[in-house]
Symmetry: C2
Subunit: 186 residues, 2 copies
DNA sequence: GTCTATAGGGGGATAGAC
DNA sequence: GTCTATCCCCCTATAGAC
């Protein structure tokens, strides 16, 4: 693997485990047995690295939802939640949960990428919920946009709460999400 | 107001707007027209300040829920959500949303306080939901503990997403929470 | 593309005077 | 209880050799 990719992979891991403002070039250079200057060659400033990572995440998300496209709404939502489960196993939180809280401290280029990512994710979930309503696999009373945001916020924070509590909050949230998409027929 | 309280108030604001690792003693000393050494007198190490703030938040929460005690479950939950609305107006996120993501970077004393706080909040919401089920003001199909965690995670992350999106996600989440506590009678 | 060397600033923390 | 002065470490970033 080329150095640039290795740097990005490790930086992403560091961001999602410690936060953007809590990792340094030294963390990367020492782990990869290179020098800080080598990182600066690939990413002149730290925010260039940060921006590149968010952008790559956006591209990966676009690839994912494209691959999932033919599956049922339920299955697509399961696939989406599976990415959180994968993160959880690696003891990582999602990039939105890591970068969002420190939004105000981020350089503008990173803020823009992050905001763009948030709209892409939110609009995708809306589409999935709408499709589920249309084919009858989902049923709920809440406003569709609001329900969508309730789903992503609870997923985002579940990874954070997993750390703080030491419990598997994500599993609980997953259960609540699917129960909440099946309005009971009495 | 005494200096110690002023320091804590400002530090809390800084933590909840920028994060624990992204504020410095200089931010506080310059704003209060004192010197860094004065802060070190009251809080020898930064983590002493951090711990004190979390502990104060725990005490305040205990006071709040004690004051709310006689109100209906619905009203108590509204009061709780009102604290998020208050934070939102001041452009602050909750302390759990700020400190949780950087949990791994925090000194042990702060981690313990944070974890203790999480259990206090979660157990309170469980009590409220249970009371609401008992008196018939709430109705839902989900497991009570899981439903409780879904509520606090969505609230926590709504403040974060407000920043990233520039929208009022908290209002949406509030709406979804109350709708989700009224299972429809068909 | 990676290195050495270094600049320049900011961080938390402490000693001792007042 | 607050100050001045200072220490030491880590940070991001750049210049120039290889």
């Amino acid at each position: 693997m080329d150095t640039k990719t290795e740097i990005m992979d490790l930086a992403e891991q560091l961001i999602r485990s410690r936060g953007y403002n809590s990792f340094s070039y030294k963390d990367i250079s020492s782990a990869l047995n290179i020098k800080n200057a080598a990182i600066h060659y690939h990413f002149p400033a730290k925010h260039d690295l940060g921006k590149a990572i968010i952008n790559r995440t956006r591209l990966r998300f676009a690839q994912h939802i494209s691959e999932w496209k033919t599956a049922s709404p339920t299955r697509q939502l399961e696939q989406f939640i599976a990415t959180y489960e994968g993160a959880n196993e690696k003891e990582l939180i999602c990039f939105m949960g890591s970068l969002g809280p420190s939004y105000k401290t981020l350089p503008e280029s990173m803020q823009k990428e992050l905001t763009a990512a948030s709209f892409e994710i939110r609009s995708w979930i809306r589409i999935i919920l709408k499709a589920g309503l249309a084919d009858g696999s989902f049923s709920f009373n809440e406003n569709l946009e609001e329900k969508s945001d309730a789903i992503i916020t609870s997923l985002l924070a579940s990874l954070i709460m997993n750390r703080v509590t030491g419990e598997n909050i994500l599993a609980s949230i997953k259960s609540v999400i699917f129960t909440g998409l099946q309005r009971e027929a009495l």
